[in-house]
């Protein structure tokens, strides 16, 4: 069974990049265009891991983490934040909100897969 990734990013470019990399690596890929949509579709999609951008309209990445962590049943799903902010406080803030890890943009295929591996154990 393929590992299912729910990617939440308002940038079509990033969504396409993620889709290309993840689908090639054998992941199942579902995307949402902003935080609100991501949270709304979370239950239906039931992903194994969530990748979310931080800066998004409607609901930002922190909001996504808080809402997903807010419900007990979901509290364990790994959430990776996509961030160009290499600033430590951004990561700290994401982690305090309950993020599992982070992927720094720009990412290459290997670091993306490596990050996913560390939070899902799956190579695909």
């Amino acid at each position: 069974m393929k590992t299912k990734v729910l990617a939440i990013d308002d940038s079509r470019t990033i969504r396409n990049l993620l889709a290309a990399t993840l689908e090639e690596a054998g992941f199942e890929y579902v995307s949402a265009v902003d935080g609100r949509e991501g949270v709304d579709m979370y239950e239906d999609v039931a992903p194994d891991v969530v990748i979310t951008d931080i800066n998004m309209p409607n609901l930002d990445g922190f909001g996504v983490i808080e809402e997903l962590r807010g419900t007990d049943i979901n509290s364990k799903v790994p959430i990776l934040v996509l961030t160009t902010e290499s600033a430590p406080e951004m990561k700290a803030r994401a982690r305090n909100a309950g993020a599992t890890g982070w992927i720094t943009k720009p990412f290459d295929d290997a670091s993306l897969i490596f990050a996913l591996k560390r939070v899902t154990g799956a190579a695909a």
Partner: protein, 723 residues
């Protein structure tokens, strides 16, 4: 794949730049709403993110500076004053350039680039030092690239002590997965220490009791081993101890390796013998269940209920405004097919009319329905091609800014009717003429701030760009509040250049329209803006090439207005089918003011070859279409035919004489490009219901070719007639 994603990026960039532009314009207009500010920030941020993915480092670096400055604004640490807004607007313009260079190649204006960077840097607080944005693959702290670098396979053995704190579990991190990642690097031995695990009664399910001692032998560098624990840093007690330095000699390594490799249990510093030793070569190992809270279990892969298959499609349909991206070629194929459908309808109608059947009313009713449906489809397809002029107008705002700074004038562009939708091709082909008009408006129209002040005008010149729909056409207007056309000078230049005779007497409107004459340029010296050897005649040609008209009106001291009237679509139009010298032709409805059947009383001769039509007390020149097209020698006993009263762009009326009117119908425009050269008076062709080809006439150019109606541009002849 990468190519198409990059295309997506550039497409998205356009949208993001438009959003940035729009947001900045709103901010410039005084709207400092946090949501507007955030939208701009996000847009630039997304450009940076995408650009980083493709290694567009110059774009990334610039976007990053922009974003950093804007972040200060967003966080209310910096005030958005006028100089900053102007700098941001210019930076946004520069982003456009950088994106264009990244996409199409070419050179950026390095001096301009450096100047903007320097200006932006002044706004960046000291502590934001890290402005170097590392290129792709090196951005993250995980230097995964290093893994691929072939190194001498010097194996190293690490002793890793790992004790999660309870907070780690609430972030969704799993020791098991970390171990799996380690296991891929080389032989791994895992020893669980559950010595701290209390009895069941005193167990706190939220607490963390377990720790692990790991022994990893790997040729990966230490940084990679550490990277595995990156996400849990600070959420666990962690020690990673290498058995030796990387440059330790091979013998020492081998010795250590032997020790660690052969006696893992002996080296385990766990006091209690409740250890779990896993042989690394036997996959898969059991999940070393951390404190098993009830929810913790279903997280292993595969335990989740599978979502319905349609999930991913469903996700695409959500979102506020679902859109579909379609290849333009497909739309054009559809438009062509609709064109054929319309032709097909006319043929069918003709066939039915030719049938020798007594009662065809029912068929005709249905045919009418067919016609309406075809029109609906056509309008639907056209609306797919229609796009708001907003992006075009935003580009023009940039043009005005650039032109203003190049000429040291202060101008602002006010836009109206940005949501007016126009055919995509029209928008594309309108960019150049509009650019030219606006540059001209800034360069020649708007006065210098000092002159404006002494004329009691606002120092800041205003150029108003508006779009609107006007009875089946699109009207685009450029209105400046500058000095207006300097008529004496325009006339003098035209005389000097031999464009008009010295004794020409022209109306104000005719003088204004001299600007459109080929070879006319009022620039005293060649400025780097509008004076590039091309004049307004190029603008006029571009507009007429789109089947449109352009007109100028001007009031001295108050400013000038350029009006461009364009057809809504380029594919289908309403036309009047007429016959001229036994040929069937089509005249565009939009240019016809009224039609009338003439009689001898209405016709007045003027001179040898001039005839005037008298309509309700006023006289208009008559142009015999057949004569103008060279289809018939003008004869005096012309049958009292039908007159189509048409109005030229300058508001002059003329009457086109044709033999008869047959019908009014939609015709599909078929370009004559590549079939034959340019024929004066003929705009295009169409296919009629009987399958015959009919020429679509261009009234403007017919009038210009006819001696009796030649307008202001054929001044010489006109003047010689008058004198």
């Amino acid at each position: 794949m990468a190519g198409s994603i990059q295309d997506t990026f550039f497409e998205e960039c356009e949208e993001l730049l438009e959003a940035t532009d729009e947001g900045l314009s709103a901010i410039e207009g005084g709207n400092h709403d946090p949501e507007v500010v955030n939208a701009v920030f996000r847009a630039v941020h997304s450009i940076k993110g995408g650009a980083g993915a493709f290694g567009l480092n110059e774009l990334v670096a610039f976007a990053h500076r922009f974003e950093t400055v804007f972040d200060e604004v967003r966080a209310n640490r910096m005030e958005l004053d006028e100089p900053l807004i102007q700098l941001l607007l210019r930076s946004c313009d520069h982003l456009y350039n950088l994106v264009a260079v990244a996409r199409d190649g070419g050179e950026t204006d390095q001096a301009h680039h450096d100047m903007l960077i320097e200006a932006l840097d002044k706004y960046i607080p000291e502590e934001e030092e890290d402005l170097t944005f590392e290129p792709m693959g090196l951005g993250g702290p995980i230097d995964i690239a290093a893994i691929d670098i072939p190194q001498a396979p010097t194996e190293e053995t690490y002793q890793i002590h790992f004790r999660p704190l309870k907070d780690m579990y609430s972030t969704g991190n799993e020791p098991f997965f970390l171990f799996q990642a380690l296991q891929e690097m080389g032989p791994l031995e895992i020893v669980l220490d559950d010595s701290e695990l209390p009895g069941f009664d005193s167990l706190d399910p939220e607490e963390s009791y377990l720790s692990w001692n790991l022994t990893l032998t790997t040729s990966e560098p230490r940084s990679t081993v550490e990277a595995v624990f990156e996400f849990v840093e600070g959420l666990c007690e962690l020690s990673i101890e290498g058995a030796g330095d990387a440059d330790a000699d091979a013998a020492a390594l081998a010795a250590l390796d032997a020790v660690f490799g052969s006696a893992p249990v002996d080296l385990t510093p766990v006091a209690e013998p409740t250890t779990m030793v896993e042989e690394t070569t036997t996959p898969p190992f059991e999940q070393p269940a951390p404190v098993p809270t009830p929810e913790a279990q279903p997280e292993a892969s595969g335990a989740k209920p599978s979502a319905p298959k349609a999930e991913s499609t469903k996700s695409e349909q959500r979102g506020p405004n679902p859109t579909l991206r379609v290849d333009l070629e497909r739309v054009d194929r559809l438009i062509n097919a609709v064109g054929e459908l319309i032709i097909n309808h006319s043929m069918l109608a003709q066939q039915i009319a030719n049938l020798d059947v007594a009662d065809v009313r029912d068929v005709e009713t249905e045919l009418e329905g067919f016609k309406n449906l075809a029109r609906d489809i056509q309008e639907g397809v056209m609306s797919i091609r229609a796009q708001p002029v907003k992006p075009l107008f935003q580009r023009m705002a940039r043009i005005v800014r650039e032109a203003s700074s190049a000429t040291s004038k202060t101008c602002k562009l006010v836009t109206e009717g940005e949501n007016t939708e126009v055919d995509k091709t029209v928008i594309e082909r309108l960019a150049d003429p509009l650019t030219h008009i606006l540059r001209n408006a800034v360069d020649h129209g708007i006065e210098s701030p000092e002159n404006r002040e002494s004329a009691n005008k606002n120092r800041i010149g205003e150029i108003r760009l508006s779009a609107s729909h006007r009875s089946g056409s699109v009207c685009i207007e450029v209105k400046d509040d500058g000095a207006g056309v300097n008529r004496p000078r325009v006339k003098q230049i035209a005389i000097d250049k031999g464009l008009i005779p010295e004794n020409a007497e022209l109306t104000d409107s005719e003088i204004d329209n001299l600007l459109f004459l080929p070879g006319f340029s009022t620039a005293k010296e060649v400025s780097n803006l509008s004076g590039r050897g091309v004049g307004m005649d190029v603008v006029k040609n571009a507009v007429t090439g789109l089947g449109g008209r352009i007109n100028i009106s001007s009031t001295p001291g108050k400013g000038s207005t350029f009006t461009i009237i364009l057809p809504l679509t380029l594919a289908v139009m309403d036309g009047m089918v007429v016959s001229v010298a036994d040929q069937t032709m089509v005249v565009p409805i939009t240019s016809i003011v009224e039609t009338m059947r003439g009689n001898d009383d209405m016709i007045n001769n003027l001179g040898a070859d001039g005839t005037l039509l008298s309509i309700r007390g006023s006289f208009v020149p008559i142009c015999d279409v057949a004569g103008a097209l060279g289809l018939r020698k003008e004869d005096n006993d012309r049958p009292p035919g039908v007159y189509l009263l048409v109005e030229t762009e300058t508001g002059q009326r003329s009457a086109l004489a044709v033999d008869d009117i047959h019908d009014q119908r939609q015709v599909v425009i078929k370009s004559l490009d590549g079939v034959c050269g340019e024929i004066a008076g003929v705009a295009a062709a169409t296919i009629l219901g009987d399958g015959k080809i009919a020429m679509i006439l261009d009234p403007e150019s017919i009038l210009a070719t006819s001696p009796t109606t030649a307008g202001a541009f054929d001044t010489e002849r006109r003047m010689s007639n008058a004198s």
